[in-house]
Symmetry: C2
Subunit: 269 residues, 2 copies
């Protein structure tokens, strides 16, 4: 009698088969992905979730705690839960924004846009972005400078439906990567690193000597299971390296986001 009076004390009752903390997590993630909850916005407190969804506080706590571990939100004891800043979230996905890298070294970043238009692309690029071979795609081609020394050539394609106002951006001041993160948090990424001697155009833009190799990073990013951007990033091999660090979680939690960090480093000047 007491068990029945409690309504649903057991767990597989609410129609779905998924656990309730998981439903809660997905509900909050979808509010973040849709833009309903924006970075630094306040997320409902555990107590509010108890009131609005009927779960117990421990269940709400588990949902929010796991979202914290996964980088979606940040929690401050005594204050509340907030959507994580995109910069922090995207560090996990993107090679760190090159402008930030440069500023972190105390140097000046500058970008020169060489091309910015919507155009039909080569079949292989169209295929990578899952668009038909004849449709248009946003394209930007630019050079990044660190203290007036060229350090990266960026050749990027972005689907039009994902970034409708792409061509109106000023990529001298905001890098394409930062702009994409601003539109929506990226959900999946694939990157490939190669060593390659670049063609003469790239070589000239990076003021490289003949036969000098490039570190080429090719990256594709997804939002909602659809590829939205494809980029080729060329770096002079004698001036740059790609560094990564990994610390398994749960051992020393002192640097919460320090693990799994990937960054570009200038090791020569």
């Amino acid at each position: 009698m007491a068990t029945i009076a409690k309504g649903r004390g057991n767990y597989d009752m609410t129609s779905s088969t998924k656990p309730r903390y998981q439903q809660l997590k997905e509900q909050i993630i979808s509010r973040i992905s849709s833009g309903d909850l924006r970075p630094l916005d306040r997320v409902p407190s555990e107590h509010e979730l108890v009131g609005s969804t009927g779960v117990s506080r421990m269940t709400a706590n588990r949902a929010l705690r796991e979202l914290t571990d996964e980088g979606y939100v940040e929690r401050v004891a005594g204050v509340g839960t907030f959507v994580a800043d995109l910069k922090a979230a995207s560090d996990l996905l993107e090679v760190r924004n090159i402008a930030d890298e440069i500023h972190m070294r105390g140097h000046e970043h500058r970008a020169a846009v060489i091309d910015l238009e919507a155009r039909r692309v080569a079949p292989d690029v169209a295929d990578l972005l899952h668009v038909s071979a004849r449709s248009r795609v946003n394209h930007v081609f630019l050079v990044h400078f660190e203290n007036d020394v060229p350090i990266q050539v960026e050749d990027r394609y972005v689907t039009i439906e994902f970034a409708k106002d792409f061509l109106a951006q000023d990529f001298q001041s905001v890098t394409p990567s930062a702009y994409l993160s601003m539109i929506s948090p990226l959900q999946e990424a694939e990157h490939v690193v190669r060593a390659k001697v670049p063609g003469s155009r790239i070589s000239r833009l990076l003021t490289m000597k003949a036969n000098e190799p490039c570190l080429v990073v090719t990256r594709r990013t997804w939002v909602n299971a659809r590829p939205v951007s494809f980029a080729r990033l060329f770096h002079p091999g004698n001036r740059f390296e790609l560094a990564g660090r990994y610390r398994p979680p749960g051992f020393a939690r002192s640097h919460p986001q320090d693990s799994k960090l990937v960054e570009l480093r200038n090791f020569d000047r």
Copy 2:
């Protein structure tokens, strides 16, 4: 009165300031690191932990659940909790073992050991391994072949105290990386990727043309906060690439370990 009778119902009682689930986790991790618990060994069940440590089952559950998320253990409902296979655990840390990569492609792997000895090393290497400049370090220098084509030159240094029987290993059949994982799960890793034209010795061993670039991966790994191994891996730039994929956790848990995977790929033959 009831509160006192319960002994310690509150949480910051047991001398240490760390939460009890965290203490439990570290205790189990240290049993794994020390070799007391070996891969596939059974880990005490939640009930047993309740009995032996006095925590509640929910606390034991949280400890084991987080260890699962972090890749230390695997749990099977109705059966028990087991120390994760080292192969799975080290995928997070190490670039996937090159022999496994090759076998996964259905090709044959072979290694030719060129040098294997304990020797005094250059000051920079000694510094990286935190050993004094005059002490000896294990060293192995070998070439990995895929179907008799050389694809990686491995130049590795391992501290003697970590691997006392290093020189007795047969690195033709077990790669140094696999051997190190066998001794103890690695706890921290740092790697740097560069594009570089190799010296003539490396170039010759990899049967590369002049001026052809290498993808050079430099990796350092830690156990118990001490560096134990430092390796330089050279790959012919025209035959190899480093690929990574990242999917944020909690979204689609269908492929539990599929995120954060890094592998070497042969893209040419």
